[in-house]
């Protein structure tokens, strides 16, 4: 499969290596196959989006990588380590659809939370949170509480928090899902800049085709029941994910890739029988 990753990066150990992963949820009555023999590799510094209809297991896959859930079968490696070890070593930063800020802490206090939990001294914490607030453009809100911020600003704080420990991997589960279109596009651009600055790999779950295409090096299209990878669409013709600008949204290549992703999403019958051909 082709990627837009430079050879130097490709030689390094991959950020995520998912091999033959199944995840079956067993309730009293029946079994739901959330993921069926999923294989996926995300290179260091690469931006990969997971897209698909509700119930296709894209969030489940992200939770497996984050070790918030364990696979029924198969293997998940993060930076060449088992997912659990990677979590204990704090190798990734994570952001969810809900900002999930602690309402009783100030904005700066929220960003410093992971650092505080891991025993970083207060001077260093303060310096780091000031740096991150600058990065997400919220310096003047350091002492505000989350309920004083708009939804988009809260999400920016959550992203700053995810970046607090300079992770080389960001896991993002529909972080812009609850935002309006205008805020959303601005946040996407900010995320591109953040990735360019930090060089972090990103696994990004989304419902939005244009969002996935605009942000990603590769778009992983998934199908539901059982959750499978239908195809992986290369967005390399738009240039590297870290160098995207607003103009790319109007580029012809952009529309071609969007069309291809849409084709894969709609071309699959609900039963998921044709999904087999991809893998």
């Amino acid at each position: 499969m082709s990627t837009s990753v430079t050879p130097a990066v490709r030689d390094a150990v991959s950020a995520i290596q998912v091999t033959g992963v199944d995840r079956v949820f067993t309730s009293r009555k029946d079994q739901v196959v959330a993921l069926d023999t999923v294989d996926l590799t995300v290179a260091a510094g690469e931006f990969v989006s997971l897209i698909g209809p509700s119930g296709c297991g894209k969030s489940t896959l992200l939770r497996l990588v984050a070790d918030l859930d364990t696979p029924t079968a198969g293997d998940v490696q993060v930076f060449g380590k088992p997912a659990r070890q990677a979590r204990l070593d704090q190798d990734y930063g994570i952001a969810f659809q809900q900002a999930g800020l602690l309402p009783w802490r100030t904005v700066a206090g929220n960003i410093e939370l992971p650092l505080k939990l891991h025993g970083v001294g207060s001077d260093e914490r303060r310096a780091r949170s000031a740096e991150l607030l600058e990065l997400v453009g919220l310096s003047e809100f350091a002492k505000s509480h989350p309920d004083q911020l708009s939804g988009g600003m809260q999400q920016r704080v959550a992203i700053a928090r995810a970046l607090a420990e300079r992770p080389k991997l960001l896991l993002m589960d529909e972080p812009f899902g609850a935002l309006d279109e205008i805020t959303r596009e601005r946040m996407q651009l900010e995320l591109v800049n953040i990735c360019a600055e930090t060089g972090a790999a990103v696994l990004f779950v989304t419902h939005s085709i244009p969002e996935a295409v605009f942000l990603s090096d590769r778009v992983v299209v998934m199908s539901p029941r059982p959750g499978r990878i239908v195809d992986i669409v290369d967005a390399g013709s738009l240039g590297r994910s870290q160098e995207r600008t607003d103009e790319d949204r109007d580029a012809e290549a952009f529309f071609h890739i969007v069309a291809r992703v849409r084709e894969h999403l709609h071309g699959v019958p609900a039963s998921g029988t044709r999904a087999m051909k991809a893998r």
Partner: protein, 271 residues
Amino acid sequence: MTDLLTRQAARDTRARLPITHAGVTTMVAPIVFGVVVLGLWQVVVVAFDIEPYVIPAPSDIWREVTANQANVLSAMGVTGRNALIGLLAGAVVGVAAAVLSSAVRVVDQMAVPVVAALSVVPIVALAPVLYTLFGAAVNTSRILVAAVSVLIPVYLNTLRGLRQVTAVHRDLMTAYAAGPLQVVRSVTLPTATPYVFTGLRIASSLAVISALIAEYFGGPIGGLGKSITSAAASSNYPLAYAYVVGAIVLGLAFYVVTLLVELSFSRHRSS
């Protein structure tokens, strides 16, 4: 431009005490209503020449309040002290029990029937038994009655609060590989705090009511309950009502103080 917009948004959603939102009508309407009711009461009592044992006129009650100001205040002090000690003791035990229940499932399950029993039994009904147990010369029984009636709402609310930790906060703590004590300190307890104070607010009125009613069943004199019964027994109905006014003021004071504490702790929880 964008900065201006975001700053505007920030100012608009700032948390405030609800009282600062109150307009003139919110403040004036209940005062007008109260004045009208008192006026009608006065007019009806005077016009129909109603006997004080049926209902005394507001002016008579107010005269007794001013004439017996020192007595009413000292009675409020006695009952208020019992209620306050009971409230604090009951709150400490209630919170501790809830923390234990939320941590140990067996304790939670064992506590269910006890809590159900305690919440259906009117605790003041125990007052006569407690007077026999601790002696009628001390306030212990009254404090105990107040404490037990406080225990249940504080326990139930705290327990509920301890279970309010959201899935996203739990996931976050797992992602940070936080230890159990870190989770309790950084998420569970702060989440529960406003619920503890909601329980305290509900319990504060109960504490005053229970401490007062317990006086009806015996014990040393001096409190509001005793003063109401003795004034009524000597047919001094306006004086009995004067002590009732004291009871209302005391109950309101407890309520307002706990409400303000609750609000200050839940200022930033709305999101």
